[in-house]
């Protein structure tokens, strides 16, 4: 049996039959994915996160991926400055949810792999096998400089991440082992508990650079990335599958992210987009981030630069799902045909906007056969917090 077969057989939501899996991105950080000063009731606190997760479980979503952030990007929103640390977040969320798959997002240079692997095994027990790991090397200099004065150089960062992940995998699968590498020396490595889920927690990573894709191909179950068009989504997915198979004889899937503005009419959706992106957007932080990514360049037109900023403000540069329920569903159905396994979505205001999406878009996805209706017999018991 292949690794993916084992995930499927064990009932892992990330490997269920839905052609388009759905999750959310960054409910643990202020502003989530929207770089804006627009009014919202959204708060990156535990109480709000539990409410969102319950709503998602009721609607059948697959996963939540938190953002790991150690400081904000600046601007008057100081985008993502307030952040619930993701291991502790996941442990607590695991205790009060039942079905949804949770991820920790871990900057590998900030934590020893033995601590990380043990925390994940612990959360695996708390969640009854619903924890996965999103590894990131750390690309935001100001945040990584807080840890060691300087950010690891890009290629060295991936060498470090590779060895870090090798140690984690051994901690999860071996007892009494020795490891000596460039970054870690472990004598008589040993750990209990091991993860209970089969074959192990789901591993995901983003990364569009050559090294980033190699790392994904070697270790991850899902490569996360942005799509530029539906054609690009197919090319990227095929590329990753080929790379993982040819280099490492492994299977891999892809997953993307997008932002949703769904309203009864197209006019209302566009008006709201205008309000929170163009009128109330935090353009200063969008500039800071575009500069970091090197998007500002004379070879790009003014229209391109404006559009790039708008996508960041709208939802971290993700795909834009703006329109009526039919229009949003059509876009998602198209996405499901590209070979991409699913998409994370973000809303400006989860508690206000997600119910409308769940009630009006999800049924259209079910009719189109890209998602299955949630099984009625899967009863959810009262969360521990309310008991």
């Amino acid at each position: 049996m292949s690794r993916f077969d084992i995930f499927r057989e064990s009932g892992n939501p990330m490997f269920n039959e839905n052609k388009l899996k759905l999750g959310i991105f960054g409910p643990n950080v202020n502003n989530s994915c929207s770089m804006t000063l627009a009014d919202t009731t959204f708060k990156p606190d535990f109480e709000t996160n539990v409410k969102i997760a319950k709503m998602m479980e009721d609607a059948g979503y697959e996963c939540i991926v938190p953002v790991a952030r150690w400081r904000g990007f600046g601007g008057s929103s100081n985008f993502n400055g307030r952040c619930m640390e993701t291991y502790t977040w996941a442990a607590a969320m695991a205790a009060v949810t039942e079905k949804i798959y949770l991820f920790c997002t871990s900057h590998v240079p900030t934590m020893h792999p033995i601590v990380a692997s043990k925390m994940l095994s612990t959360i695996d027990d708390i969640s009854k096998g619903r924890i996965g790991l999103n590894t990131v090397v750390g690309w935001f200099p100001k945040e990584m400089e807080m840890f060691s004065g300087k950010k690891m150089e890009h290629d060295k960062g991936y060498q470090y991440a590779t060895e870090w992940m090798e140690v984690v995998l051994r901690m999860w699968s071996e007892q009494f082992f020795d490891h000596k590498g460039e970054f870690f020396e472990i004598k008589d490595g040993w750990q209990e508990p091991k993860p209970s889920q089969s074959p192990r927690p789901v591993l995901i990573s983003a990364g569009t650079s050559t090294k980033g894709r190699e790392y994904s191909a070697r270790f991850s179950d899902f490569n996360f990335g942005y799509i530029e068009s539906m054609e690009h989504a197919t090319e990227w997915t095929n590329f990753m599958k080929k790379l993982a198979w040819e280099e490492y004889k492994r299977e891999i899937n892809t997953f993307t992210t997008g932002f949703v503005v769904c309203r009864p009419t197209e006019k209302e959706a566009k008006e709201f987009y205008n309000y929170y992106v163009r009128e109330q957007g935090d353009w200063e932080v969008a500039n800071i981030i575009c500069d970091m990514f090197g998007i500002e360049s004379s070879s790009n037109s003014a229209e391109f630069l404006t559009k790039a900023r708008e996508n960041f403000i709208g939802g971290w540069g993700g795909w834009s799902f703006v329109g009526t329920p039919e229009q949003v569903a059509d876009e998602m159905i198209k996405l499901s045909k590209t070979g991409v396994s699913g998409t994370l979505v973000s809303f400006l205001d989860y508690m206000e906007e997600m119910p409308y999406f769940n009630e009006n878009v999800l049924p259209l996805l079910e009719q189109a056969g890209v998602r299955n209706p949630i099984k009625e017999d899967s009863t959810i018991t009262e969360p521990i917090l309310n008991a």
């Binding site: 601007g75 008057s76 566009k270 008006e271 205008n274 309000y275 163009r278 009128e279 109330q280 935090d282 353009w283 200063e284 500039n287 003014a302 229209e303 404006t306």
Partner: protein, 137 residues
């Protein structure tokens, strides 16, 4: 019935107050965001404004920044426009790319055009306005 259109920007005091005045005086108006302005629409508005397209734009970078404290790119263009370094055609192109340079509110029925908020002008402009059709054939 008279058809009025407003281009506004939320958070701009003049724009928000003009919207409130229209609403509270029962005058129907199609409310648009200034960011929905197309090149064609800017040309159409410019042809109605006494003084031409320049009068749609903030007169200086200080006043622009009071309403758009976070926007920087536009400031260079505003200087160029107000120092008359650009043709009307070039200004219209620039405004279509950076609509934040346009003062708001703009209130128009494509005959009269109001830029900014002034209570007396509102009162005199909307005297005798027809807001509802009750004598349909």
């Amino acid at each position: 019935m008279d058809q009025w259109v407003l281009y506004g920007k939320s958070g701009n005091p003049s724009s928000d107050i003009a919207k409130a005045w229209l609403k509270n005086n029962g005058i129907p108006v199609e409310e648009n965001s200034v960011f929905q302005l197309t090149k064609e629409e800017i040309e159409r508005l410019a042809s109605i404004v006494p003084g031409g397209v320049r009068k749609l734009v903030y007169p200086d970078t200080f006043s622009f920044s009071l309403i758009n404290p976070q926007k920087k790119t536009e400031k260079v263009h505003i200087e160029a426009i107000q120092e008359r370094e650009l043709s009307d055609e070039e200004i219209i192109e620039l405004l279509a790319t950076y609509p934040a340079m346009v003062m708001t509110p703009i209130v128009t029925d494509y005959e009269t055009i109001l830029i900014g908020y002034d209570l007396d002008t509102m009162v005199s402009t909307f005297r005798f306005v027809k807001v509802k059709d009750v004598t349909i054939a």
